[in-house]
């Protein structure tokens, strides 16, 4: 009995002990460990940062800097020279390895070495060279040049490749302008070879800059090298295909969430990630396929998974997956970059990067977080949950951005090369460089020239983003080509009508007539200033020169014989304020593909759609004057001047290439339709039977330079809200447009 009691007591005591340990010994340290560690002075290490009550010293004593800065005896100029001598090779930067003095003030010219006889150059490199030679940066005078491009093919530096150029070292050293590579730019797509694929080019590049694909952050010299995308031999030279996204779908999900189809390397550099992909493949919406079947002796190296992987691989079509997936995996290959990247970008399949240490293409200017998901190879297994966690709105934005970037910088070899040059130009001309916003938003850095203005608000593209509006007045520019003989000439009527518009700030008469300027008193008295500029060369293109006297954002471009009423002008201007980046005009024209002649056709017939408005009466942003003058090549402007024709077509091409949108046609008085364009001088020009044929020729010439047809059709005309509605005409603001 006693023993029983004893055991009972023991048991309960034991239970109590267990309880005691449970609460006191286990739980206490977990929840209140800190309290236990507390020392006598109340100091608790693992707690939020304490609020100290004692007066603390400042990190920077008031006098430290003064005394320190006076300590420096070394002259700043000396210091710069020291940098130049110390930071070479892998540590090259613009400050130490580039000679800015070679670049003439505000001018960035590029010299291409003449091609040596017998030197073989791959088609890709030939394309790069001809792009530069056709660009506005090109100079044949090395004395003018800021940047030098080799005519030796450096694209493929894989010594096992048939394109590999031997003895490059000596060839380069023998160039008399080489100057240890200073101010040289070297293009490269492939470097190193099996098995380690180093990024060494196999010759001493000295202080030259690299424009290189698959470059690693380790070797990339920031703001000195340029990372370019890997592109294939078939990549188009100009123009290039547009992105595949034709319309936005909401919700933005596609059949597959994440796809990949590509080689697996089994062993060696860069094989780990692709070897592990099968863990994430789920056969449903995450389809990651690899094949071992590549190379001659793949059978020898194959592992246990190969047969299974190969079978799965053949079940899916790459193109089908590419176009039907929300995300596309872009894992590294042997080298860091792969073709998958551009393919995904074009297909509007958001790239999911798995290539640790790859300096992404044009990383200096492109914010890739807005168009791609930058994954980490170490976190491969998290990738599905990561992409699934991305909100639909974000997917929609990412997808659109892939298309913008593709068309702005990647769709052709020309764009890749020009982007590279523009990036370097921005570094050289510092004060006239683009902000991140200009590079990363429509229409992109190639169309937004910083030489025009450093102020974003001066461009037609950023009003909405910045929450501002264009200046609410316009400058009329009248192109005068006939002498002033009578006071009833259309130009005078036009001047009076335009000046009456409350939105008119000033009128510029561009005197492109061979006769001398008429006396000042011959111009009618107007409430706005009339400035007469004598055209220097009296050529057609001069009507689109960026005259400094144009101070308003809007330009109303006019032919001297245009017939317009004040109301028509007012209405067109209010429309333009809603569409400041587009051309707003009255008479419209259209283009079409003539399949018989296999060329573009031009028509002035009344049709149900249009793709151009005549610039004899059109409102647009003054930036397009700058762009017309500075962006277009001399060959096209020369053609316009020589024919004294097609300037309006060229302007329409340019604006549509920038905006990717059609111009806007607004209402005009119907009874004037026939007479609006074409009396006196203009009539002679339009009556010329060659005139029409010339315009056909122009269209095709322009389309070939743009690398495609930028014009876009529209079926819409903008009319005043109550236009021809059955309400009293007195209630209509723009009633004059309807009046006969």
């Amino acid at each position: 009995m006693q023993a029983k009691k004893r055991y009972l007591f023991l048991l309960s005591a034991g239970a109590c002990l267990v309880l005691l340990f449970y609460f006191g010994g286990v739980q206490l340290p977990a929840s209140g460990r800190n309290r236990h560690d507390r020392s006598h002075n109340g100091y608790r290490p693992d707690q939020p940062w304490p609020h100290f009550s004692d007066p603390l010293q400042q990190f920077l004593p008031w006098d430290q800097l003064d005394t320190e800065e006076y300590n420096i005896h070394i002259s700043p100029r000396q210091k710069r020279d020291v940098n130049t001598s110390v930071y070479k090779g892998k540590r090259c930067r613009m400050d130490s390895c580039f000679d800015f003095s070679a670049c003439k003030k505000n001018d960035f010219k590029v010299y291409v070495y003449p091609q040596q006889k017998g030197e073989k150059i791959s088609e890709s490199y030939q394309n790069i060279l001809s792009t530069i030679e056709g660009s506005r940066f090109y100079t044949t005078d090395p004395g003018q040049a800021c940047l030098f491009i080799l005519s030796l093919d450096t694209l493929d530096r894989d010594s096992l490749s048939p394109q590999y150029v031997h003895n490059l070292k000596t060839k380069v050293q023998n160039l008399h302008l080489w100057n240890n590579g200073r101010n040289h730019l070297i293009f490269n797509l492939y470097s190193g070879t099996w098995p380690d694929y180093t990024e060494d080019l196999g010759f001493d590049i000295g202080q030259a800059m690299l424009a290189k694909a698959s470059i690693s952050t380790e070797n990339f010299r920031p703001n000195f090298d340029v990372s370019i995308p890997l592109f294939s031999k078939e990549h188009p030279r100009t123009g290039g295909d547009r992105g595949y996204l034709k319309y936005n779908s909401i919700p933005p999900f596609r059949k597959y969430m994440l796809v990949f189809k590509g080689k697996r390397y089994l062993t060696g550099i860069g094989s780990d990630t692709r070897n592990a992909l099968y863990h994430v493949h789920n056969q449903e919406d995450v389809v990651l396929l690899t094949t071992c079947k590549h190379g001659k002796d793949w059978q020898k190296h194959k592992d246990a998974r190969c047969d299974k992987d190969n079978a799965e691989y053949d079940k899916y079509d790459y193109r089908e997956m590419l176009h039907n997936s929300t995300f596309c995996l872009v894992p590294r290959g042997r080298r860091l970059g792969s073709f998958r990247f551009l393919e995904a970008l074009q297909a509007a399949c958001v790239p999911v990067m798995l290539s640790n240490g790859w300096e992404l293409p044009f990383s200096e200017i492109i914010n890739w977080n807005t168009a791609a998901v930058i994954g980490d190879e170490r976190l491969l297994l998290q990738i599905p949950s990561t992409v699934r966690s991305i909100h639909q709105d974000k997917i929609l934005a990412l997808r659109q951005q892939t298309q913008f970037l593709w068309e702005a910088y990647f769709s052709s070899m020309e764009k890749i090369v020009l982007t590279t040059l523009e990036i370097i130009q921005d570094r050289v001309l510092q004060q006239e460089s683009r902000s991140t916003l200009m590079w990363n938003s429509h229409p992109g850095g190639l169309f937004a020239l910083p030489q025009y203005s450093a102020h974003l608000g001066d461009f037609p593209f950023y009003y909405a983003t910045l929450g501002i509006k264009p200046y609410p007045k316009f400058t009329a520019v009248i192109h005068a080509v006939t002498p002033l003989v009578s006071q009833s000439q259309p130009i005078l009527k036009l001047l009076v009508a335009v000046a009456k518009s409350p939105y008119c700030a000033q009128i510029i008469v561009l005197w492109n007539c061979d006769k001398p300027l008429p006396a000042k008193h011959r111009w009618p008295a107007t409430s706005v200033p009339v400035i007469v500029i004598e055209g220097e060369n009296k050529v057609m293109s001069s009507r689109f020169l960026p005259y400094e006297t144009i101070v308003t954002d809007a330009v109303l471009s006019l032919d001297e014989d245009t017939v317009l009423s004040t109301t028509e002008v007012d209405f067109a201007f209010t429309v333009w304020q809603s569409f400041p980046e587009r051309l707003v005009g009255y008479p419209a024209r259209s283009h079409f593909w003539d399949s018989n002649k296999e060329r573009w056709g031009y028509t002035s017939k009344w049709t149900n759609d249009y793709s151009m408005v005549l610039t004899g009466a059109a409102i647009y942003h003054r930036y397009y004057h700058f762009l017309y003058t500075n962006f277009l090549p001399a060959s096209l402007k020369g053609m316009v001047d020589q024919l004294a024709n097609c300037e309006d077509i060229l302007m329409n091409f340019l604006v549509s290439a920038v905006t990717k949108l059609p111009p806007i046609k607004v209402t005009q008085k119907k009874q004037y339709k026939e007479t609006m364009m074409g009396q006196s001088s203009r009539a002679s020009r339009w009556a010329d039977p060659d005139h029409f044929a010339q315009r056909q020729t122009c269209m095709n010439k322009f389309a070939s330079w743009f690398g495609g047809m930028p014009l876009v059709h529209s079926q819409m005309r903008l009319d005043p809200v109550l236009f021809k509605d059955q309400v009293s005409i007195l209630r209509k603001k723009y009633r004059d447009i309807e009046r006969l």
Binding site: C16, L20, L60, N71, H455, A464, S714, F723
Partner: protein, 570 residues
């Protein structure tokens, strides 16, 4: 608790020998255990009050209470920073993990006072006011964790803001002694004044293994892009001086130079500019008649004329920020605060937070060599641009420079954006001041796309019970070739929708046909508009005077040749 545990553990061994009074013994044992339990329970439920009293006492805590740690001379020193370090090579991303908030966890080491074997502290200032402020801010933020095992980033409490007050070797040893140091992996150091005489390195000289450095004054050669964070040099004046924001616009002076320690070559260059351009330039220097110290920091002089600093900065459009011995200058912060556009002349300098901030919109960077051309360069900048830069400068200060908290949070957010790039803050979020964020319009469909006709459109018809009118709409709209789908939303709880093609008659419908003409209806809609506008805080609707019509609308043209002949013929 310990005592009772000991006592009871001895219990069982004693039992057999204690034949008498065992009952008393058991009762004693039992009550002791019980008491222990109760005490434990008390301890469990009381801590709140204990903690609050502890907290109260914490407010009066002193840095001198921190434990004193002596560093043996032979202690290991970390390796110098590895220049090739990048997030994927020197940062352990597994510690950060996947979390739904996409936010890194930051741990702060408890404060310790390190001394060498002779008892001399490793730093002359110890914990500075600024570093204390920075750590408090982190500790109060959502990044903070007190659980060292869950931390992704570790911030030592060793203050290295100013290298000048450090003993380099000992500081490095102290870092290496941190319990989770592990070659500096995932450790973040904040330093604003790196280097020392005579050549002033542009990064902290303290050997630090793989630790990340948030440094003020990096040059392009020491900055590990994508790994380090370039931070501003905090200006202590920020805390003391309040400069009200001024409207952007032209100022009394065009260019102002306020730095006191400018290299004589550069000062000579500035004097020359002043000679050429006269009153437009104000060239300030130290006041010779004032004693050193706080007062002199707040005054600047030009030929005996005394100016208040930093107030005088507000009187100029542009303010020169020249490199000194170091690239990073606290003046930059003062200049931004004043809404003066900084003109930065410091070749190879990595501007603060340049990874996310678009300095093109807030500053002018001129190569040192072009100092003589400064005036011409600045004159060529359009006024509107200057105004935008003034506004932008002030905004940068407000958001990213104004306090140690702002600097610390920005740094952590930048690192956070690297670890969770798909949840990174956007360019607009970083760079647009509130007024722009408010006014700007960013369409979710920003790509200029003209969709083809092929997918067509979905018609959504909202209906209550006007069946006849509904069927009329359906009949008409189904004639449209581009119609892909028609969706009828039956918005009537009392009736079920009609089935199939059956036609319903609705005599009472006509009674409410005149609805839109009803006066009360208009009043209601006006009220809606006002309510919505007040919720939006602004009127988002825009008025236009145009309407889209087909190209040949109402033109004198054969109707059968028009694409949309019936429009407007109702």
């Amino acid at each position: 608790m310990c005592a009772s545990g000991k006592y009871s553990s001895r219990g069982p061994a004693l039992i057999p020998r204690m034949k008498t009074k065992h009952r008393i013994y058991y009762i004693t044992l039992f009550s002791v255990v019980l008491l222990g339990l109760i005490a434990t329970g008390m301890f469990q439920f009381w801590p709140h009050s204990i903690e609050s009293t502890a907290d109260w006492s914490l407010d009066r805590r002193s840095v001198h209470d921190a434990p004193l740690i002596q560093l043996p001379v032979s202690n290991p020193i970390p390796e110098r920073g590895d220049l090739s370090c990048r997030m994927h090579t020197c940062f352990d991303v597994y510690r950060c993990g996947y979390n739904p908030k996409n936010r890194i966890k930051v741990y702060i080491y408890p404060l310790q006072r390190f001394v060498d074997e002779g008892g001399v502290p490793i730093s002359s200032t110890g914990l500075s006011r600024e570093y204390n402020g920075l750590l408090s801010a982190i500790s109060d933020s959502e990044f903070y964790t007190d659980d060292v095992t869950r931390a992704c980033l570790f911030v030592p409490s060793i203050d290295v803001l100013n290298q000048n007050s450090l003993r380099i070797r000992e500081t490095a040893q102290a870092l290496a002694m941190l319990p989770r140091w592990d070659k500096g992996m995932n450790h973040l150091l904040f330093n604003m004044l790196p280097g020392g005489p005579p050549d002033y390195n542009t990064a902290l000289d303290v050997p630090r293994d793989r630790a990340l450095l948030a440094g003020g004054g990096f040059s392009t050669w020491t900055y590990r892009q994508g790994y380090d964070v370039s931070i501003p040099v905090y200006s202590p004046l920020s805390a003391d001086v309040e400069l009200p924001e001024r409207q952007p616009g032209p100022r009394h002076y065009f260019i102002l130079s306020s730095q006191t320690a400018i290299h004589r070559e550069y000062r000579a260059e500035l004097e020359r500019l002043k000679e050429e351009n006269g009153e437009a330039l104000l060239l300030l220097d130290k006041c010779s008649n004032l004693s050193q110290g706080v007062a002199s920091a707040r005054k600047r002089c030009y030929k005996g004329q005394v100016f208040d600093y930093p107030q005088i900065l507000q009187e100029s459009s542009f303010c020169v920020v020249l490199r000194g011995a170091r690239l990073g200058q606290a003046t930059l912060s003062d200049v931004l605060q004043a809404g003066c556009v900084p003109v930065i002349l410091a070749d190879s300098y990595i501007l603060p937070f340049s990874e996310v901030l678009d300095w093109k919109r807030a500053s002018v960077v001129i190569p040192e060599e072009k100092l003589p051309e400064m005036y011409t360069i600045l004159k060529s900048i359009p006024h509107r641009q200057v105004e935008e830069m003034q506004r932008q400068a002030r905004w940068f200060w407000d958001a990213y420079f104004s306090s140690m908290k702002a600097i610390g949070m920005t740094t952590l957010q930048i690192i956070n954006d690297r670890i969770y790039p798909y949840a990174a803050r956007t360019y607009e979020q970083w760079n647009n001041p509130p007024v722009v964020k408010w006014l700007s319009v960013n369409s979710p469909l920003f790509l200029p796309l003209i969709p083809p006709r092929s997918p067509g459109f979905t018609a959504v018809v909202l209906t209550y019970d006007r069946i006849e009118s509904l069927f009329r709409v359906i009949t008409e709209i189904s004639k449209v070739p581009s119609l892909a789908k028609l969706l009828v939303v039956w918005n009537n709880q009392n009736k079920s929708p009609p089935e199939g093609e059956k036609k319903f008659k609705c005599p009472e419908c006509t009674a409410i046909d005149g609805l839109s003409l009803d006066q009360t209806h208009m009043v209601e809609r006006s009220e809606c508009i006002n309510k919505f506008a007040s919720v939006f805080g602004t009127m988002p609707l825009k008025v236009v005077e145009h309407r889209a019509d087909p190209v040949l609308y109402k033109d004198d043209f054969p109707e059968k040749l028009k694409s949309f002949p019936n429009i407007g013929s109702l």
